[in-house]
Amino acid sequence: MQWTGHEHFRTRLVLSMISGKAVKITGIRSLDKDPGLRDYEVSLLRLLEKVSNGSVIEISHTGTAILLKPGILTGGPVIHDCPLSRSVGYFLEPIVALAPFSKAPLMLTLKGITTDEKDLSVDIIRTVTLPHLAMFGIEDGLEMKIKKRGAAPGGGGEVQFISPVAKSVKTLNFVNAGKVKRIRGIAHAVRISPQFSNRMVDSSRSILNRYIPDIYIHSDVYKGDDSGKSPGYALSLLAETTEGALYCSEAVSVPRPDPHSLKERNKAKKDRIFQDEERDDGPAPITPEDVALTASRELLVAIQKGGCVDRKHQWIVLLYMVLGSEDVGRVRMGQLSPRSVQFLRDLKTVFGTSFKISAVDDSRADSELLLSCYGTGFVNVNRTIA
């Protein structure tokens, strides 16, 4: 298998690890000023090497091409320090998808930033991603503990992810999303007044109470050593429907950049065109009310987009559907994200499985989609018996 470009790096590595086919990714930022793999990507490759046995990873001199010959997922206790350029979620997302197919239960401890605006926060992974796996019959022994929180840019958080070993994946048949019956959330503020999380809770309630009274937003407090190295606060929300579909959203405070990196960024800004300017302009602090507002509105948008699967988790559901038993699995999804579209293509190249995709309502352009596929009957070959 061969791909080009640095995009969809993680999903491609996941596909390679699960299918056991070697993957070659070329042209990784080859036209960039700063070509090659980023530190977090290298760190991810390291992590993959740690959770497997016999993996061969070759990185070219320039770092613009890699070759991964996957070994066997072994699991067991693994500790990994994530670089501060990406949050723990970046690393956890592919690992969550891989872990059930390892030889022994994986006990992974990741250290670094637990919440940032680019990746899924650990709260979302715990409350939304893991239940998505439960839809496929992987639930016993699947847990995640947030031992310490660490906000950007300092990090210092720690999470422990424990995954069971699955024999095979159940076929999913989930076409009725139902209606939202409750909203849950976690607001946290570290190295900052705990009042901040209360403010977020209140603000979010003011919006969401309009729709449903069953709202419970937990104000999560971490003190002292457990609260990481930098101040920050965030709100993650999830809506659950009567049928068990989950939608989530999240908003994070703008991290206070350390002066050193700010300087560097500004220097870099001169010779590069950035898409969103505001992130580079240094501190533009955001009030907890605004954070809550963004999160709540995002949640409403996510609910509106519909489907039985959260938009950010489409790919993991698609993957597990393909890995299901040799039966037809069906799922209803909102509009596909670009990531999912590419993932569907990648799935086809790797497993040869294509989905039947039809709009639920032909008359509307943004109609929900009905995806069905024939599972490949994947079994966890790595699993040891007796």
């Binding site: 640095h6 995009e7 790096f9 993680r10 036209l31 046995n53 016999g54 070994g71 066997i72 970046y90 997302e93 030889k103 605006e117 680019k118 899924l120 209606k179 939202v180 109470n209 309009r210 729709y211 009567t242 898409q275 969103d276 963004t294 509105r297 995002e298 609910i303 509106q304 519909g306 950010k312 040799e326 039966d327 037809v328 596909l336 994200s337 670009p338 579209v341 569907l344 497993f351 040869g352 294509s354 989905f355 039947k356 995709i357 039809s358 709009a359 352009a365 943004d366 989609l369 069905s372 596929c373 024939y374 009957g377 079994v379 070959v381 790595n382 699993r383 040891t384 018996i385 007796a386």
Partner: protein, 994 residues
């Protein structure tokens, strides 16, 4: 034998009763056992060779008993009484077939997870010229057969046992040569001679071979025209018919009279009204079709049967000549639309082949086209959709590309067969929906050049990060102030259906700008209709609830299903879903999505097949195509649980080649045997243990854990014994193993202090020592110690401490474990590629030695010699006189010399008094007398005893004889009874027969 055991559903085990069981029978049964046990029916033949009925009966009984112990008690065993007129009795065969037809097959895990096919026909498709130029070139081969197991996809890799792993080039679904009985055919009670089908693959009936798209006619010798009425083979007749044709194809097409049905009154006319392209298409179709039709019909000119494709007749139907009205419902793919519409769709499709530059455009446009057709049919109907109009339409639609009309998007096509970027696909709807949004300044506005838009997009995407959270999609904040907009979400909550009674809650948002109203709010139906619908829905819901309540109230147990029933229902539901989900779509897409279903007759084209498979093809050796799971294509280190077969006479040695039959594959590998040593380590074994399972680890193709396998030392039939060496099951797959073997390092002390000693000759460098610092060591005499630190001087020497002082003569040893990895040796058994099918792999170590006349390597140090242990002599301790004198008394050496003279007891002499002397002699005499007496008595006793023994023996003998007589009597009676019973039985059977 091995391969067939892997695919047989039912084994008819024919046993020559006159000979009894053969070794091969047991071997085959064991192969079956290790690869999943299918159903077995035993058949005893050659019973007529046993003349005596009693012997025949006994043989039957004995064979049945043995058969039952092998399979299970009560396994079906048939008896074929003998051959009459060269065939077995019809009734017996009929009985057997009846049994076969009602046989229930058990699901076997391996077969239910792998697709496979037993090829009933092989065809070499390699161009003849290529073979002529290079006879050993890789071949392109097609295999035909019924698909079994699970669905086979084109992307799966296959293994042909005996030939190796191969890639599928294509799969074609063919009509079932022996179709299942239909309702119609079931009505007939008898199979008429006409309905009897012959499926004779690999046999050219009348010199003709059919392939998917070609017919091969073999004409023996050189072909000359003879009299036409002379009966030749079918093939020859075909050739002659071809020669008979007086008109060219083009002519015949021009004046062809295609009748859609045999009864059609008007032939079809090819007119020039059609677009150029479609007429071309039909032309080429008829050309390609002519060959296949020629073989079916005698006159090549008329071509009555049109069974080629759906595409061919379409233009003709469009003309409206003939009986098109009657035909429409038959044309399945287009039955739901009018023919005009379908044409429009086809245009769009054919356009998609034009080029990739218009890639973006064509999708949108096509979608638009269909949608517009759906919307305003009357608009399009008057003109007859010619190319020019369509192009005009395309331009207009290009201009309208950004219009907000809802469009139908074919997601499957967009994703799988367009080269749009994911961003473009995902944004596609944004284009239409929110083009008012200011951030979407698409270059579509300057509509002429679509290419610029695409390029621009390409550049912008290079900076996107691989992140899960998408950038915020909230748009401008204004609409979020709008109450109507906020209310549009309400329906998505369980509280929403109640409508507006909760509106008072969200009072903070007073800005009422109506421009942000979305499609969402438009969707809300009118209040009147909703009320009605609600009432209806409510009634329906109530009914369901009432039913449920009734059910539960009346019989709470009835509604609960047992686990088994629940599972069964679930499986049935899933099966139904599997069938229904892809029912509507065409066969090609279906095959793409779910693969080819088991039970279908397919033609598999394999690429790069070794030429020997074709050259050395022998129909007596079946070709099996086994589909591999994704994991099975890989290689790794496989750990298995193995047990030497109890009938296999030799023991198996580590690292001796062994032939495995595992999954579809047969291969030779070098296993290392091991046992779990107290759950601490895996310890290598040199040989397999007797009567015990052990582990074996080898390098080879990965198989799913729990797969059974069997092993052979050699596959040749030269050795008469039982060939299955071992059986077992796969436990684990990995990339490395942790098997260790014992390693003892020895050294000798060269300097000894009190508890410290310096040891040399254990290691060769200080680096080695450093690795073993802190390791436990031991002397032969059992003094334990520890390695401390390397010494500088003699290389590899080190300082060690012991719990006691060691001797210079002690040997110090270090017990260690040396890890070993299996050798990466994998040698597939390519028996099908050989002319004689006699495959020989790597020889066993013993065989090699035997053939080379070598003996086993012999280490002189390992031989057992007579141990000579001279007793140690210690010199006496000498302390100089001077020193002795200075020592304190307690420390003075106490040297005891050997005694010089005799002791008192030794020295003294005993002299008896005469009185005493006499007494003593008297005593002695009395003792002698007594001794004599007892000896005499004993002798007499012995005599008596021997006499008694004799009499007893006599009595015993008499008794035994009596018993023998009794036993004889009893056995005679029992035998007679049995005989009577047997006779009775046979008599009744005879009666039943008549």
């Amino acid at each position: 034998m091995i391969d067939i055991g892997k695919i047989a559903d039912l084994v008819l085990l024919v046993i020559d009763a006159s000979f009894g069981f053969e070794m091969e029978t047991f071997e085959f049964l064991n192969i079956l056992q290790s690869h999943g046990f299918p159903k077995i029916i035993g058949i005893l033949s050659h019973l007529d060779l046993i003349k005596k009925t009693a012997i025949q009966r006994a043989t039957k009984k004995a064979l049945k008993k043995r058969f039952w112990t092998e399979i299970y008690q009560g396994a079906k065993l048939f008896y074929l009484s003998g051959v009459l007129n060269g065939r077995y009795p019809d009734t017996e065969i009929q009985n057997l077939t009846r049994f076969i037809s009602v046989m229930k097959f058990r699901p076997l895990v391996f077969r239910n997870s792998h697709p496979y096919l037993l090829a009933d026909r092989i065809q070499d498709l390699t161009p003849v010229e290529k073979i002529r130029q290079q006879p050993t070139c890789d071949r392109r081969v097609t295999l035909y057969g019924y698909l079994r197991g699970t669905n086979l996809k084109e992307s799966t890799k296959v293994h042909v046992p005996g030939a190796g792993d191969l890639d599928i080039r294509s799969i074609t679904l063919l009509a079932d040569p022996c179709p299942l009985p239909t309702a119609d055919s079931e009505k007939r009670r008898r199979l008429a001679e006409k309905q009897k089908l012959i499926h004779a693959p690999m046999s050219d009936v009348g010199g003709i071979l059919y392939d998917k798209d070609a017919v091969y006619i073999t004409v023996p010798g050189n072909f000359t025209r003879k009299d036409s009425d002379q009966a030749e083979g079918e093939g020859e007749r075909m050739v002659m018919d071809l020669q008979d044709a007086t008109t060219t194809l083009a002519d015949s097409v021009a004046k062809s009279q295609i009748r859609l049905l045999g009864t059609s009154s008007h032939p079809l006319v090819v007119t020039a009204e059609d677009g150029e392209q479609s007429s071309d298409e039909s032309d080429s179709d008829t050309e390609s079709g002519s060959e296949s039709e020629g073989e079916e019909d005698d006159d090549a000119g008329s071509m009555t049967s049109v069974s080629e494709d759906d595409e061919k007749p379409r233009p003709a139907v469009g003309d409206g000549t003939g009986r098109s009205a009657a035909r429409i419902p038959i044309r399945v793919p287009f039955s739901d639309r009018s023919t005009k519409k379908s044409q429009a769709v086809e245009y769009a499709d054919s356009d998609s082949d034009l080029g990739d530059d218009l890639g973006d455009l064509k999708q949108d446009d096509r979608g638009d086209d269909i949608a517009s057709e759906d919307d305003d049919d009357s608009d399009e109907d008057p003109d007859d959709e010619m190319g020019s109009h369509w192009k005009r339409h395309m331009e207009t639609s290009l201009r309208q590309v950004a219009s907000s009309r809802p469009r139908h998007r074919d997601w499957t096509k967009l994703i799988y067969s367009s080269d749009l970027t994911p961003q473009q696909i995902a944004e596609g709807k944004d284009l239409a929906e929110s083009d008012k949004a200011d951030d979407m300044t698409m270059a579509v506005d300057n509509d002429d050049d679509f290419l610029t838009f695409k390029q621009k997009d390409n550049i912008s995407q290079t900076e996107t990060l691989d992140q899960s959270n998408e950038p915020l999609s909230l748009g401008n904040g204004e609409e979020w102030e709008d109450d109507d907009f906020l209310d549009s979400f309400r329906d998505l909550f369980i509280t929403g259906s109640k409508g507006g009674d909760e509106e008072s809650q969200g009072g903070d948002f007073e800005d009422l700008e109506a421009n942000g109203a979305d499609a969402e709010s438009q969707d809300e139906p009118n209040p009147e209709s909703t009320e009605e619908a609600q009432a209806k829905a409510l009634a329906k819901k109530k009914e369901v609830l009432k039913k449920k309540f009734d059910e539960q109230y009346d019989d709470p147990e009835a509604s609960k299903l047992s686990f088994y029933e629940e599972k069964k229902e679930e499986m049935a539901r899933q099966l139904r879903l599997n069938r229904e989900e892809f029912d509507g779509i065409d066969a090609e897409t279906k095959a793409l999505v779910e693969g080819y279903r088991p039970g279908s007759y397919v033609r598999i084209e394999l690429a790069n097949v070794p030429c020997e498979l074709v050259d050395n093809f022998d129909p007596a050796y079946p070709i099996i195509v086994g589909g591999l799971l994704a994991a099975e294509e890989r290689f790794g280190i496989v750990q298995v649980r193995i047990k030497r077969h109890r009938w296999f006479t030799k023991t198996l040695k580590t690292n001796d080649p062994l032939i495995f039959s595992l999954g579809w594959r047969r291969f030779q590998s070098l296993p290392i045997y091991s046992l779990d040593d107290h759950s601490i380590r895996m310890r290598m074994l040199k040989y397999t243990p007797e009567h015990m399972h052990c582990y074996a680890t080898f390098y080879g193709p990965v198989s799913v854990p729990n797969t059974g396998f069997c092993c052979f030392n050699s596959l040749g039939d030269s050795n008469p014994g039982f060939r299955i060496a071992a059986t077992g099951v796969v436990l684990d797959i990995d990339r490395s193993t942790k098997i260790v073997k014992k390693l003892k390092l020895t050294g000798v002390p060269y300097k000894i202090f009190k508890n410290t000693a310096f040891i040399k000759d254990m290691f060769t460098s200080s680096l080695e020592v450093a690795k073993f610092e802190g390791a436990n060591i031991k002397t032969v005499s059992g003094i334990r110690g520890q390695i401390k630190k390397a010494q500088a001087k003699p290389d590899g020497a080190f300082r060690a401490t012991f719990e006691d002082k060691v001797l210079m003569s002690d040997i110090v040893f270090l017990r260690a474990w040396y890890s070993i990895q299996p050798r990466q040796f994998y040698n597939p058994v390519t028996s099908l590629l050989l002319r004689e099918k006699k495959w020989e792999g790597m020889r066993l170590t013993g065989q090699v030695r035997k053939e080379l006349g070598l003996s086993a390597p012999h280490d002189i140090n390992s031989t057992y010699k007579k141990i000579d242990r001279p007793s140690r002599r210690f010199n006496s301790l000498k302390v100089s006189k001077k020193l002795q004198k200075d020592l304190p008394f307690a420390s003075k050496p106490r040297i005891t010399r050997p005694a010089q003279g005799k002791t008192y007891l030794q020295k003294r002499v005993v002299v008896l008094e005469p009185e005493e002397k006499r007494a003593l002699t008297l005593l002695q005499q009395m003792r002698a007398l007594d001794k004599e007496k007892t000896a005499k008595r004993k002798g007499k006793q012995e005599e008596r005893r021997s006499e008694h023994r004799k009499s007893v023996a006599k009595a015993e003998e008499k008794k035994g004889e009596k018993q023998k007589e009794q036993r004889k009597e009893y056995m005679r009676a029992a035998g007679q009874k049995q005989k009577r019973e047997a006779e009775l039985e046979s008599g009744s059977r005879k009666r039943r027969k008549t």
